[in-house]
């Protein structure tokens, strides 16, 4: 394909982004806004730039699509310098999502999404098809296509913003606090949905936020900046949480580092304890023998049904007779699933006021027992059963509920 | 009735129609040779006094008209602020009055109020209505919802909110409207000569065909100066009435 054509129509997929000594100076101030930034973002990764206000994260991001021009140094996208291209043309190949969304109030949703395709002279049919595809991708009702931005909620508007940015399938996306102006409940929903989307489309994304929790949740790698765009630490979320590079990073991450690590884990990732299982009609002598075994992890028996689904905890009185009764004395308490995020599981556990919680797999069968002790033991040890990654990246066993806005 | 009207003395203030054809003495002649004399300083300094009364007449006309116009338009705006359905009709109605050229307005009133100051004032007031109405509405509309909400939550009545929260915050726009209205009306009031209401137009319009650059420039100049003068005064009043804006500007 001729080089010019390749440049005009983005080829989809993802490109790497490479900062090489990127610097931005304003006027004669001695300290630059961004000071010789060197950063490598691999194709298909979400790189989060996070730090306090004024640290240079937004400036750094905006240098990629030349909304802010480099004073020194260079930025390469897919190996090619951004300075080589005409700025407007360059930007048509980079997705751009900002906090206030910036939809055109005088054009319909469909027309908003069609902005860059129209700039690239796509034919009407192709645009229409792509628009429908995108609305579905971001979870919007296709009927909204002919509405105007003012008629949509904030969350819906930002979904349109994302759709608009993805219209021509750009290899790189820039997102500047995209969910910042949205209420916390919808923000979480949007974050989850976006991560799911990313799992499908796998774009290279530069994501700016001031919220460390969002950074940990969204990022494959996080660059923590303090000022002048200098990177204090650039690593995966779990590395940053386990081994902060310096005091600034430690403070920025927050004193609850340990708890934050729990957001990166699922219940099924660690070794769970086992409790003796008892079926109705089983001989209580067997069960008591198991309970009395010296290596028993949980000193209580769990009543399960024929399909190994937990029904309740058996008390001494339950086991007084010859056979295990059909119903247990003590209620089950909180039931967790192996797919649950550990942080939420801990919350449920603490709320349930019991020491142990039954954990089931996605079919409801007992998988093990979780206790606070297990969790703290795990945190103390440096190695986990599986490598800690962003919890959503790994295949989810069953989908999380999420109605549209 | 028409003949009766025609018989009315045409000059309430005496100088209309006399123009410069009649005042062509040896002093004015050279200055009327406009090809060589765009502006006669000599004539200007000697005859500056003749502009005094007309200027005063015009000033009075403008001030009275704007005050009346403000009173009416402000009342309209308060009603429209309360009752939304009134907004469009009032805007359209004042718009009609605004669009009609003043000179036509003056003479439309001929069978009703004849010629004279009343006619001029009615027409000029009508002209200011839309400007002021629109600005007051905009000012009220720009009051942050949060301020009104907080006031309501603290137990203010609707009326108290209006007078203690909304109107004070709308002052810059309201005064802005007054400034625009005053400057525009001052310019238009030069036409009051056609309503036989005096004003600086008397020094410009001769009733014949010969007019006189120096006099025109002086008359026009005085009108402009008066307009900008009142504008500056009103601006100062506004700054004075909105101390919180000064503080914000200083803090910025």
């Amino acid at each position: 394909m001729p080089a010019s054509e390749a440049i005009e129509q983005p080829q989809g997929g993802a490109s790497s982004v490479s900062y090489q000594g990127a610097t931005k100076r304003y006027g004669n101030t001695s300290a630059p806004a961004v000071d010789h930034l060197d950063l490598e973002v691999e194709a298909g990764e979400i790189c989060v730039l996070v730090g306090p206000s004024g640290c240079g994260k937004t400036t750094s991001m905006r240098m990629v699509n030349r909304m802010i021009e480099l004073s020194e140094g260079d930025i390469l996208i897919g190996g090619e310098s951004v300075k080589k291209r005409d700025a407007a043309k360059l930007r048509r190949e980079i997705g751009y999502v900002i906090q206030q969304v910036g939809l055109f109030p005088h054009r319909t949703i469909a027309q908003n999404i069609a902005t860059v395709p129209q700039l690239l002279d796509w034919d009407k049919e192709r645009i229409r098809a792509r628009t429908t595809e995108l609305l579905d991708l971001v979870g919007l009702d296709p009927d909204l296509a002919d509405r105007f931005p003012v008629q949509l909620s904030g969350g819906q508007q930002q979904r349109v913003g994302v759709a608009r940015a993805l219209a021509v399938d750009p290899p790189v996306m820039l997102m500047d606090e995209p969910f910042g102006a949205i209420d916390p409940i919808n923000r979480e929903r949007l974050q989850n949905e976006f991560l799911r989307l990313q799992a499908e489309i796998r774009k290279t994304i530069l994501f700016v936020t001031h919220d460390i929790d969002e950074a940990i949740k969204m990022g494959d790698r996080i660059a923590i900046m303090k000022q002048h765009g200098r990177v204090e630490q650039y690593a995966t979320p779990s590395e940053i949480l386990m081994s902060p590079a310096n005091e600034f990073v430690e403070d920025f991450v927050g004193a609850d580092r340990a708890l934050k690590r729990l957001s990166l884990l699922r219940v099924g990732d660690i070794d769970l304890w086992k409790a003796p299982n008892a079926r109705p009609g089983q001989s209580t002598a067997e069960v008591r023998a198991e309970l009395d075994a010296p290596d028993v992890e949980v000193p209580y028996a769990l009543l399960v049904d024929a399909d190994e689904r937990p029904q309740g905890w058996l008390s001494r009185r339950d086991l007084a007779g010859d056979t295990v009764p059909a119903t247990a004395d003590a209620p089950l308490g909180p039931v967790l699933e192996t797919g649950d995020v550990m942080r939420d599981a801990l919350a449920d556990l603490l709320q349930g006021e019991s020491m142990y919680a039954a954990v089931v797999d996605h079919q409801g069968r007992i998988a093990g027992i979780l206790s606070v002790e297990i969790i703290s033991e795990f945190l103390a040890s440096p190695v986990a059963k599986t490598e800690e990654q962003s919890a959503v990246e790994r295949p989810v066993e069953h989908p999380v509920d999420s109605p549209h806005d | 009735m028409i003949s009766a009207l025609s018989a009315l003395p045409t000059a309430a203030v005496g100088e209309v129609g006399e123009g410069f054809l009649k005042h062509r003495t040896g002093e004015t002649l050279p200055c009327q040779a406009h090809t060589s004399h765009l502006f006669c300083w000599d004539w200007a300094t000697e005859h500056i006094n003749r502009f005094g009364t007309p200027a005063l007449q015009q000033f009075e006309l403008v001030v009275i008209s704007v005050l009346i116009g403000f009173a009416i338009a402000f009342a309209f705006a308060l009603f429209a602020h309360r009752y939304r359905p009134l907004q469009w009709p009032l805007l359209a109605g004042t718009g009609v009055l605004f669009a009609i050229p003043s000179i036509a307005f003056f003479l439309l009133l001929l069978p009703i109020t004849g010629r004279g100051r009343e006619t001029a004032i009615i027409a000029l007031s009508a002209y200011t209505l839309q400007i002021i109405y629109r600005n007051v509405m905009q000012g009220l509309g720009n009051v942050p919802e949060s301020a009104k909400d907080a006031a309501r939550g603290m137990g203010f009545t609707q009326r108290q909110i209006l007078w203690k929260v909304e109107l004070p915050l709308a002052v810059p726009e309201i005064v802005g409207g007054l400034r625009i209205a005053t400057v525009s009306t001052m310019a238009i009031a030069t036409l009051a000569v056609f309503a036989h209401a005096g004003g600086l137009g008397t020094q410009i319009y001769a009733g014949g065909n010969e007019v006189f650059p120096t006099a025109i420039i002086i008359a026009g100049g005085i009108a402009i100066l008066m307009a900008l003068g009142i504008d500056a005064v009103l601006l100062t009043v506004q700054r004075f009435a909105t101390p919180w804006r000064r503080a914000a500007a200083e803090a910025a």
């Binding site: 860059v116 105007f148 | 009735m1 003056f106 310019a187 036409l191 410009i204 025109i216 026009g220």
Partner: protein, 241 residues
């Protein structure tokens, strides 16, 4: 009842004027000479329309690009608003009289002067209209890859339409009103009836006033309709909130 209403002294004054508009009358002032009638009315009205429309177009040609450019760059606020303020203060009568004596009578000269009178409101409103466009929208449009020119054309201009149209309507009021007194500069418009009482009589004066008012209102309605058509539906919805 209508007959009784029409013969009320208030309206009696106007019947003479209406007769003047529609049929040639023997002027009761100059004696014997026929004046008025629908032909003359339409002729003068047409001159006024021509004069006003040409002046308005010229004013728009000057003021809108300038307003767009400076508004887009964000510079020159003092000048744009200052010209607006100063322009408002110019007395039309003085302007016309000066044209008549200095530039001399003539249609082109008058078009130019009227256009100058119309520039300030259009310039100021265009400038302000562009400046008031939400910065986030402009930033997003740039980020999507629109060139500066495209940003002005596709985003800033449509969103500034209400403000620009308001400026145009204000300028039109000014221009039409000044065109009314164009006869002072030798170009005969409907104002000639108003100014020439000694030729057309009181009926003529009233007729002139009525026709001028109607003409001005026609312009106003036309522009109001145009504004409605040019304002995007999305904008209208937004304004309604």
């Amino acid at each position: 009842m209508t007959a009784a209403l029409l013969t009320h002294p208030l309206f009696a004054g106007f019947t003479g004027a209406f007769e003047f508009i529609f049929s040639k009358q023997e002027s009761d002032v100059t004696g014997g000479k026929k004046v008025g009638g629908i032909e003359q009315v339409l002729e003068l009205a047409w001159t006024q329309i021509e004069l006003s429309v040409l002046a308005l177009l010229l004013a728009m040609l000057i003021a809108i690009p300038a307003g767009l450019y400076f508004g887009h760059r964000g510079k020159g606020e003092l000048i744009a608003v200052g010209i607006g303020n100063a322009g408002r203060a110019i007395p039309e009568l003085a302007a016309i009289a000066l044209v008549a004596t200095v530039i001399g009578v003539g249609f082109p000269g008058l078009v130019f002067v009227l256009a100058l009178l119309g520039v300030p409101p259009i310039l100021t409103n265009t400038f302000v209209g562009v400046r008031q466009v939400d910065h986030a929208t402009v930033d997003a449009s740039r980020g999507l890859g629109l060139t500066e020119f495209q940003v002005i054309r596709k985003v800033e201009l449509p969103l500034a339409v209400p403000s620009i149209m308001t400026g145009i309507r204000g300028a039109t009021v000014n221009i039409v009103a000044t065109a009314t007194i164009a006869p002072l500069a030798g170009v005969l418009t409907l104002g000639d009836f108003i100014l020439g009482e000694n030729v057309y009589g009181v009926n003529g004066v009233l007729a002139g006033a009525i026709c001028t008012a109607i003409l001005a209102l026609l312009f106003e309605f036309a522009l109001a309709g145009l504004q409605r058509r040019l304002t995007s539906k999305g904008l209208r919805l937004q304004q309604a909130q």
